[in-house]
């Protein structure tokens, strides 16, 4: 049914908005470029699926379990970031993504290559729903929650510490920021939220396959963040909406989805590396001028205040 399809698209968009916002905390705020976010997405999805499928636990337990477990694992998988930076970190996170997917594929407990099927639909107070408006609300409530977490982090000392780590680790240490600790915080928060998104994904689709979480999917999420405007609260949302909704709604684009993703990334880096509505972007500066918002692009202002707005 037509509107059913639109609702499904909106559900997917909501899940990917959550993924993009959560990655933004790690990459945009704390500066840890990660090409392994899909792994956390998958860990959350598989955790909640197993909790509900093999242990019969109710949805809320699965959901919280996915968040907590993924957050804890995220702290461990974030350890390489303490030793390496930049390019090396990119490689390490790629590798982590690969190993995690390999575990899903080859370890029977996770269903192996056949994946997991018949994941129960969430039910609250006896009412069971797998799609439609209720699920849409659920997904977007969590997306909103993720946004609130991002906003909150950007306003508190944690957020400021994250930015210092991103800009200059040594200078951050010189003002008393324990760089390792804050990197782990960033991984914990970002992966926990991604895990929640994974749970929502798994219970919506009803089945999970390892290849959904391969490295390329990490690239997709990263491109949403970069495309929209890395480090801002608004950028990842727009990036996720455009890059997720467009292929779903436009047949032609669907076939060439990755070609367009790739081309967009390249074009973005050539012309607007700060993202479509990033702080210094053409669009954002035009918008703020047009509406006389207090936003200050460029060298006269900016900083965390802008980034957090």
């Amino acid at each position: 049914m037509f509107s059913g399809y639109i609702i499904s698209v909106a559900i997917f968009v909501g899940i990917w908005v959550t993924l993009a916002l959560s990655l933004n905390i790690l990459t945009g705020y704390a500066g840890q470029v990660s090409l392994g976010h899909a792994a956390f997405f998958g860990i959350g999805a598989y955790t909640s699926a197993i909790l509900s499928l093999k242990y019969g636990l109710p949805f809320w337990v699965d959901f919280l379990g996915a968040i907590v477990v993924t957050g804890l694992i995220g702290m461990v998988l974030g350890l390489p970031s303490l030793r390496v930076r930049h390019d090396f970190l990119v490689l390490a996170t790629m590798g982590i993504n690969f190993v995690v997917v390999a575990i899903f594929k080859y370890v029977d407990f996770f269903g192996g290559a056949m994946g997991l099927i018949n994941i129960p639909a969430p039910s609250i107070l006896g009412y069971s729903f797998r799609g439609g408006i209720p699920y849409l609300l659920l997904v977007w409530a969590f997306a909103t929650f993720t946004w609130l977490v991002s906003w909150y982090v950007s306003k508190t000392w944690v957020g400021l510490a994250f930015h210092t780590v991103r800009i200059d680790e040594d200078a951050a240490a010189a003002v008393g920021v324990s760089v390792p600790r804050f990197k782990i915080y960033a991984f914990a928060i970002s992966s926990a939220l991604a895990g929640g998104a994974g749970c929502l994904y798994g219970h919506f689709i009803g089945s999970l396959f390892p290849d959904t979480f391969v490295f390329v999917e990490s690239i997709v999420v990263l491109s949403m963040v970069i495309f929209g405007g890395v480090g801002t609260l608004r950028g990842p949302i727009l990036g996720a909406i455009i890059l997720k909704a467009a292929p779903e709604l436009l047949r032609f684009v669907q076939d060439y989805r990755f070609t367009i993703y790739g081309a967009l990334l390249v074009l973005m880096m050539l012309f607007q590396p700060m993202g479509l509505i990033g702080d210094d972007s053409f669009l954002w500066r035009s918008l703020t001028r047009l509406f006389s918002l207090p936003g200050r692009g460029g060298s006269r202002g900016g900083g965390v205040e802008e980034v957090g707005s």
Partner: protein, 289 residues
Amino acid sequence: MPFMQNLSNAVVLAGTYILMAAGLTMVYGVLKVLHIAHAAVYTIGAFIGLLVFTWAGNFWLALAVAMLVSGIVGVLIYRGTYHYMLDAPRTVPLIASIGMFVMLTDLLQKDFLMGPYQKALPAGGAGLPRIQTSWFSLTPKQVLILVVTAALLAVVYLIMTRTRIGLGWQAAAMDRDMAAAVGVNLNRVIAFNFFLGSALAGAAGVLVGVYNNSVFATMGDLPSYKAFIIIVLGGMGSLPGTIIASLLLALVENLMVASVGYVLPRDAIAFLVLILMLMFRPHGLLGQE
């Protein structure tokens, strides 16, 4: 399987790794960019090699043309993207590289190019003989890989050490700004670098395509991941390190598969090695920082 045979198999495997990784490390040496799009050049090389071989029936011609085209594609990638990002923060060329990789790989899968299925590249051993000694034996295809790899490496070595452009590269790898200050034409050095590195990758693609008698659009993914592992192991930007690391990785993979019934696939082992390396010896076995 007896050790010497294992060893010789590993050397052959390493040959393809070296060609792939050498290009990558050369690019990193000067640009300090993880050239993730390198995978696409490898695949393009295999594809062109297939086309030429199908049309002309001659392996050596196919190899030469593939290398040439790959080299040109490499330079075009550089001129179209990285060239404008030399002074940008490191994430910018990295993301652009990822974008190029995704775009090219997707395009290659379209029907008008390589299509979604694999194709055969039946060039056999290109007329080379089988080698049989008491310790190990090499099939003609294996001999082919060894011969081509050795020849190309020798050429690269000569270029790097005996020509002006090679020396310019070494200078630029040490310090880009200084090199420019003493008159090294950075643009030319980098472009040539890309040409050479990409040509090597193209050669690797053709060789692997011939060896496995199979060419397909995503064939570059795994070799390029491994190439990254190798350049980290060998020290980013170090050619000798790359050669040693390639041999090591090939050896470990062969031994793992041969002796241990694997829980995880062989490729995942490579990644575990990567993560461990990054944790404990991020500057590689031979690299300096």
